[in-house]
Symmetry: C2
């Protein structure tokens, strides 16, 4: 049906080897170049990448595995990856692990069996032994957002500790002492880091910390709502609350609205991840924002280097800065 390299060779009156070499950018005589070009044009020849993959065992495809596709964080990162890898001719397969380690493992196996050239993973859970178990150490893989135990891999992370530190420190300097924190599961890397940032402020300022004000959710809107309600129902509720991811921030705001708490008069609030939010709600929300597109771009670049065989200082961990943006949702006590 479609023209093959043989047809081109026949029409151009050269060997298939010559056509192949020309197609792959090797030197070919001027005369042959012209003949081949002409033949390709006349036959509307398109190289069959599947056949090529079979010989080269490169599929020019990478997979991105995330705990959930339908959220801004994943998508912005994926957009960054797609955009960056596009220029090198790679395509991006997306996989949703649905925050399920078993599913994550299955998806990794699936894409590995499909001969993708590389994988970017936002791991679900804190253990990553299954990752190397499935992928081996032949197939390049880059972690993002979260580090895992049991897998030596490149990673692109965000400096959560310091970002949270800044935010909480600001609350301290505004005079707050009872500062609530709504954070993620104890076993998730980013959640641990964000807690660490919080704790460090208290240590550095030599202030007592009330463990009861730290609430562990699961990064969903629902728990954001629930935990915020809990905090505000305490006998001695916090005067400020820091929420450690986007979805929970939404939930927390919903709770605040529902209970009828005035921000910042009755409560100072700091959210996470989305600048949009900051401008959208009234009073403007103070937030810690992550450089999402940059995470994707950096992960893609790193993976690309590994795929072309560059193994310099493996495993490499890139840490990007997050920023605290102050809005009108916090107030001096």
């Amino acid at each position: 049906m479609a023209a093959t390299i043989k047809d081109v060779a026949a029409l151009a009156q050269v060997s298939v080897g010559t056509v192949s070499r020309y197609l792959n950018g090797y030197e070919v005589s001027e005369a042959n170049k012209r003949k081949i070009d002409e033949a390709i044009r006349r036959l509307d020849f398109k190289l069959n990448p599947v056949a090529r993959s079979l010989k080269t065992s490169k599929s020019m495809t990478v997979a991105v595995v995330v705990p959930a596709l339908a959220n801004i964080f994943s998508m912005s990162i994926i957009e960054g990856i797609e955009r960056h890898l596009d220029q090198y001719g790679y395509s991006v397969i997306v996989c949703d692990s649905q925050s399920d380690v078993q599913k994550e493992k299955a998806k990794l196996q699936f894409v590995k069996d499909k001969y993708v050239d590389g994988v970017v993973i936002m791991p679900t859970g804190s253990d990553g032994t299954h990752i190397t178990e499935v992928l081996g150490d032949e197939l390049p893989a880059v972690l993002m957002d979260r580090l895992v135990e049991g897998a030596k891999l490149d990673a692109v992370l965000v400096d959560n500790v310091n970002a949270v530190y800044q935010a909480v420190e600001r609350l301290i300097t505004l005079g707050h002492r009872r500062i609530g924190m709504i954070t993620g599961p104890k076993d998730i890397y980013t959640a641990k880091e964000r807690q660490e940032g919080y704790r460090r402020v208290f240590v550095d300022y030599n202030l007592p910390m009330d463990e009861n004000l730290i609430r562990y959710g699961d990064y969903t809107e629902d728990t954001g709502y629930k935990l915020m309600s809990e905090l505000m129902r305490l006998d001695c509720p916090p005067t400020a609350v820091f929420v450690a991811n986007y979805e929970m921030t939404i939930g927390a705001i919903m709770a605040v609205n529902e209970i009828g708490i005035q921000i910042p008069d009755q409560l100072s609030l700091i959210g996470f991840d989305q600048l949009e939010l900051s401008k959208l709600i009234k009073p403007s929300l103070s937030v810690v924002v992550q450089p999402m597109a940059e995470i994707g771009q950096k992960a893609a670049e790193m993976l690309y280097q590994r795929m072309r065989g560059n193994c310099d200082n493996f495993p490499q961990v890139i840490r990007l800065k997050a920023h605290f943006i102050e809005g009108q949702s916090i107030k001096r006590l």
Copy 2:
């Protein structure tokens, strides 16, 4: 390196043909079944999908092309597609056309040359001749969200006309007459439909319409902001505004907040697409919400049917219902 079907055949002492037939679900004697199973297990054999693709010219991969990846609408749909197609063993390649018809065409060509088995497209622009031009009529493709001219294709759409009708009608019954509309480009299908819904209310209620209150943006946050500001700066500003997509809704709310307009006292506002918003901001926003996951799921199912050769009543257009959810952002005049 990795075991091939030949190794399996050798170890099991049968021919490669037999192994292949077994692998593909054809009848094989009980004894051979056992021997092959055993050999596969011992060799940890994995069928090479690239080689298979070369013979079958099926890649078990579909592409999804959208104008932008990093927005809730695209992502929710892609999540729906991925989830649905996963069960059939397909993987999903994502492509960002960046709202650029040229890029869209290039991406389509790219995935076609990669031998994907099907394509789901949220087209950018109102013309779709380039789609059939590139894809031909061999490669199954379904449109979503938007219809285009010049391409006969299956499509999954949302009944924008009636959803908007409901929302605007509600404003009318609340006594509003000067109703602003911030909508999308005149040449984009959904924007046209949403305008149509708006106009129809005025016709049906036999009310005069002020064309000056209809503002055409480009579905971005920026124009939402700009157009809302413009509307409110009119000598005789609208008493209610309907914003016809998510990003512009965000922008519009930002403008409203900035100018300091009280909602719903000074202005009734209806937004689009995201239920989250409704609950998040105060007063709760009235919104028209689309069934995003369902769009993805339906598009995937349709594409799947086409890929297996089911050509019943082509081209088929499925129209899903959107819903108007009333919040506290609108008020009787």
